[in-house]
Symmetry: C2
Subunit: 185 residues, 2 copies
């Protein structure tokens, strides 16, 4: 009747918590419906601050422990003061952290140990589009490259790579989302 301690946590993720979540959502799919929300305030010039608001998950409103904030600015070349990452860098960070978290969570459930996981992401943006000089030029990223560097005793790296496809941010960007913009004063 002993339990091995190394089985309860894999890669720093509690297998008990994750298993219970999966089991609960599997029995009652409504538990899986979640909503995330932020507010943003323009700070003048190219600067703004986002504040994470309460989230909704498992049929309840959940407050974050701390008032998480994210700051944004542009480099001087783009008329900013370079006080924080710019929005397109923040997008790459969201993608990186989501891919990493998704790989770790699913690897943990499979018992795949990861010693270290680093990544490099980059993408090209043609400012001709953003500046309004040519409407035929895409205003966003067309391609984003994600290079994963993993240290793991698990030799099937392709199996680990494929776990990135569980990532919600990955799927949002790969499949697009409908964006509704309203304005009021």
């Amino acid at each position: 009747m002993t339990t091995t301690t190394h089985a309860s946590t894999v890669n720093g993720v509690s297998i008990r918590v994750l298993s219970e979540t999966i089991s609960a959502v599997d029995k009652d799919r409504e538990l899986g419906l979640s909503r995330f929300k932020i507010s943003n305030t323009w700070d003048g010039g190219t600067r703004s601050t986002s504040t994470v608001e309460d989230m909704y998950a498992a049929k309840q409103t959940i407050a974050h422990k701390a008032g998480h904030q994210m700051h944004s600015d542009e480099p001087e070349m783009l008329s900013g003061t370079d006080a924080a990452p710019n929005p397109v860098e923040q997008l790459l960070s969201a993608l990186a952290s989501c891919v990493v978290t998704s790989i770790i969570a699913h690897a943990s459930m499979k018992g795949i140990e990861i010693n270290s996981l680093k990544s490099e992401l980059e993408g090209d943006i043609n400012l001709t589009g953003f500046l309004g000089l040519d409407d035929s030029i895409s205003r966003g990223y067309n391609n984003i490259s994600i290079k994963l560097f993993v240290d793991s005793p698990h030799k099937d790296l392709e199996e680990i790579r494929l776990l990135s496809f569980y990532s919600p941010v990955f799927n949002t960007i790969a499949n697009a989302a409908k964006l509704d913009v309203s304005i009021t004063n």
Copy 2:
């Protein structure tokens, strides 16, 4: 031959810098080609840290003044320690800050003064997809709502709303991007 000081800066954005950028890119479109890059390190469990790397723009490599970092974690319900925003919240922040910056930059070039600009963004994610319980369920956001609250002497709010469509992050998510994932040890 006098220049009015209020015309040189609108909404805290230097019109001179922005005008020179637009003019230069218009004459030499290669100046508009830019590349953004971040690296990410897994910090154990659901935590990771992104570091903004040098960017490329105007035919040169540009170092950020400071080593900007962005931290990510998950709330306790999702097996994390809630030490930072989670990746899907970071995505909303990237979208908010990009929409705001795009509105401000283009409003400034049009001489539209903005006194304040706040926004609220939210989106739903069905964790049934992320958890791998149902492959027919989308794993990302399908819809994101962006509510803008603006204080401006400019009465045509629709004109201001439409400026959000210049945003690179908005266009990346609305139109999708191709994501290439490689892995090595």
